[in-house]
């Protein structure tokens, strides 16, 4: 066990972890930030996506020790300062971009990375970018609408796939 320190959602946080501790374990067990979900634990589903130094990564597929000193944003860090839902969260709510909500933290973090890179993506770009985020409930249609709305684009007229 040795100490790992990261800036998580703007605050410096540390925990004592083993070599094999994943970033997902550091966040969930070490820091009790359980908003980051572990769906598959085999790098396939994207439920565990967080931002590390601004980039979306799968937190189940990186070791905490390898990211010592990194800046991390999780779903707990995306609400507004007054506690109201952030822009992307609000759009997921408004457009029914979730049902059970298990995939949602990863969807929201991937969307945050997408919109930082590409503020006005096309529908096709949204679908392409979210390829690594799997949802068992929604059929994706409303997720895509939510992302379009979060980017300030008309979301009503999307064709069903």
């Amino acid at each position: 066990m040795s100490k790992v320190t990261m800036t998580v959602n703007g605050r410096e946080r540390s925990a004592e972890v083993e070599g094999r501790t994943l970033l997902s374990g550091f966040l969930r067990e070490g820091l009790e930030l359980t908003g980051t979900h572990v769906g598959c634990d085999t790098s396939q589903c994207g439920a565990c996506v967080v931002l590390v130094n601004g980039q979306a990564i799968k937190s189940c597929t990186a070791f905490a020790h390898d990211l010592d000193g990194a800046e991390v944003t999780t779903i707990e860090g995306v609400a507004n300062a007054d506690g109201s839902l952030g822009r992307i969260q609000q759009a997921f709510k408004d457009y029914h971009g979730l049902q059970c909500g298990f995939c949602t933290p990863g969807m929201v973090m991937s969307t945050a990375a997408l919109l930082a890179e590409n503020p006005k993506p096309s529908e096709e770009e949204v679908r392409h970018y979210l390829e690594g985020n799997i949802c068992r409930c929604t059929g994706y249609q409303n997720i895509v609408r939510a992302v379009m709305a979060a980017s300030g684009q008309e979301a009503g007229a999307l064709a069903a796939e």
Binding site: E18, G19, R20, L22, D41, T42, S43, G46, V49, Q55, A56, I57, K58, T61, A62, F63, H65, D66, D68, S110, A113, L114, Y129, E131, G132, N133
Partner: protein
């Protein structure tokens, strides 16, 4: 996953020194190694991260060669190679999904040599040179079958040198569950001739399609391949496709790559 000691050296020399221990293994982006350690297919005593070594990261042009550091992520190659070698940048941009591309690296991909991986097709399809901590290995000697390479115990890839082609393209038929190639072709045209490398299809891993290279070297067009078939002998057969289906895809994807390369 079994526990291990984690070390993160700051130089190639320090990494190679730690890797002299038989029980130590390099870790690059971890997008292949971490899942396989979770499945206990791999259980190193010491894991040596290569991501803290600045010399191993970057894309840099040296006259007609594009040099890519082994620990450069797929996302960075997709961005930084776009001007000098668009065919390679496009290949990197099609690997997995954005989160995989933000961690996975070219060195890890070439060291792993998955029979369905993308980079082996670009390395073999350009005749790239794999540079290690101790020597340089031509792509034709480097790939030695499924998951097998010329790398020795403890040897690490430090960079890859790609001769920049006049025109090139990668055409990938995606296996949608894994996101790897069900079958894909990388085609590169040089003044000296055309190279064609196929991934995802053969039980022996990435290979050059010699008949297509000969046909395309005299006429660089999809029509030149019209009457050419690839044999299903030793092609992969699994629930995603039969050997005959993959052999058919070899022709289809090669023609698409030639058309895309223009």
């Amino acid at each position: 996953m079994y526990n291990f000691d984690f070390v993160k050296p700051g130089s190639v020399a320090d990494a190679v020194a730690v890797l002299a221990d038989d029980d130590a293994q390099p870790l690059s982006g971890g997008q292949t190694l971490i899942p396989s350690m979770k499945a206990r297919l791999n259980a190193p005593g010491t894991l040596v991260s290569l991501t803290g070594i600045p010399d191993l990261v970057g894309v840099c042009r040296e006259s007609d060669t594009l040099v890519i550091g082994a620990a450069t992520t797929h996302a960075q190659v997709a961005r930084d190679a776009a001007g000098d070698f668009p065919g390679l940048a496009a290949l990197a941009g099609q690997i997995g999904d954005p989160a995989v591309r933000n961690r996975g690296t070219i060195g890890g991909s070439l060291a792993n040599n998955d029979p369905s991986a993308c980079y082996p097709a670009a390395a073999l399809g350009t005749g790239a040179t794999i540079v290690t901590d101790r020597r340089e290995i031509g792509a034709d000697d480097y790939f030695q079958g499924m998951f097998a390479t010329a790398l020795e115990e403890g040897e690490i890839i430090t960079s890859v040198r790609f001769p920049i082609p006049q025109a090139s393209a990668y055409a990938k038929f995606v296996q949608p569950a894994s996101r790897f190639a069900l079958t894909a072709a990388f085609v590169a045209r040089y003044a000296s001739g055309v190279r064609v490398a196929i991934t995802g299809a053969s039980e022996n891993g990435v290979f050059r399609w010699a008949e297509a290279e000969a046909a395309l070297s005299s006429n660089f067009s999809a029509d030149a391949l019209a009457s050419l078939g690839c044999s299903p002998h030793e092609m992969i057969a699994d629930l995603h496709g039969t050997a005959a289906y993959r052999a058919h895809l070899v022709g289809v994807m090669t023609r698409r790559a030639v058309t895309a390369a223009g």
